[in-house]
Point group: C2
Chain length 216, copies 2
Amino acid sequence: MKPVRAPEAQESRDERKLRTRSQLTQAALKLTGQGRGFTSLSLREITREAGVVPAAFYRHFRDLDELGLALVESGGVTLRRLLREIRREQIPPKAMLEDSVTLYLRYVLAHRLEFAFIAGERSGGSPVIRNAIRREAAHFAAELAQDVAGLGTLPEIKIETLHMISGLIVGTLLNAAADILDLPEAQPLRTQELKRNFILELKVIFLGAAHWRDAP
Amino acid sequence: MKPVRAPEAQESRDERKLRTRSQLTQAALKLTGQGRGFTSLSLREITREAGVVPAAFYRHFRDLDELGLALVESGGVTLRRLLREIRREQIPPKAMLEDSVTLYLRYVLAHRLEFAFIAGERSGGSPVIRNAIRREAAHFAAELAQDVAGLGTLPEIKIETLHMISGLIVGTLLNAAADILDLPEAQPLRTQELKRNFILELKVIFLGAAHWRDAP
DNA sequence: TGTACATCAGTGAACGCGCGTTCACTGATGTAC
DNA sequence: TGTACATCAGTGAACGCGCGTTCACTGATGTAC
């Protein structure tokens, strides 16, 4: 028989280390969520928020950029999970757009900090992080293009064109997320207004896509 | 006869003060242009770059936020001048979109630092500055909507819908500016690629707009 | 025009503070036997 | 199972540094007469 431990109190050293690491990333996320650029955070601020001594930081990351990249990475995972959830929902084509938007916005609010980070550092932050986000966004757009192709509603459009359109959509999604997350916490009316506007924007794009004819 | 001065060497006290102020704003712009968030700049860095002692800063701005707002303001002026220039060009409707994009991108590169600031701080920076940029962008979108209405190419569309579409366009313009300005200085091939993609995105939007039917 | 005084943009020194990084350490967890 | 040793996540103190802000100042420009 293996040694039995009181399961609630005991963690292995590795588990404890992972937990501290996650405290650090969550602390950074929380601080950027208060409307400050990631580049303006200090290492000591982050460790303070995480409840750990400054020097402990170096057990997990070489520097702040490395922590930032970890945040981008986890934001990318969150984005991909979103697509998977939408796919799984099996929405009837008729309500596709509105229902997807509702799902998207619910998801954005449920992952407020991740989305604020991605949308916020997308163009403002350090070049390293900016490029990493660009890569994640491109990846997301490519998956989105595959999904749209799979729907078969735009059968005549070349896949490269679908990629272009997906890029436009992703840009619009992120702009909308940034706008909505920037509202003072819980302004349901203004949020509804932005949501309606967001749906209309996507409708314009899909209408354009539906009438698109590729050059031969 | 008024006292004659050697005109090249003499400035009034007011002129000198304005020049120092502009040295401060230009210094801040230059520093943000090196791929750092505005929130991560220090007052001393800016005065150092401007060639002035730190305390001199307070003769011009209360704090860094006030300087940031001045940058937003001047970015807004730059945006409105762009629209005026496009209007003045009297482009034939047929080539409208491509020529406007060419003009826009030339303008973006000619005002690289202003656009990098606006596009970069739009979602990343301090809330105060973010909101000021949002206001400028909305203002710009409203003017754009007026211009498009004036063209008469979309006669059936309600003005509110035009506002929505203009908002979508402005978001796309800024995303494109951010992408292009982020390329390592002077990569003509990649720039052309982004420009082509950017034109296609706008074409999708205008195609959607052309087929738009407002609900009654 | 010339003179005496007021204004005020920019100076330079000083302050206390939080910063990133280093280092030797401690003590709980993990491993070998 | 029990024991002796190795590992290493997190500690706490220390360092030199750049930071924002204050202050009394200086000296050129502007104004009143």
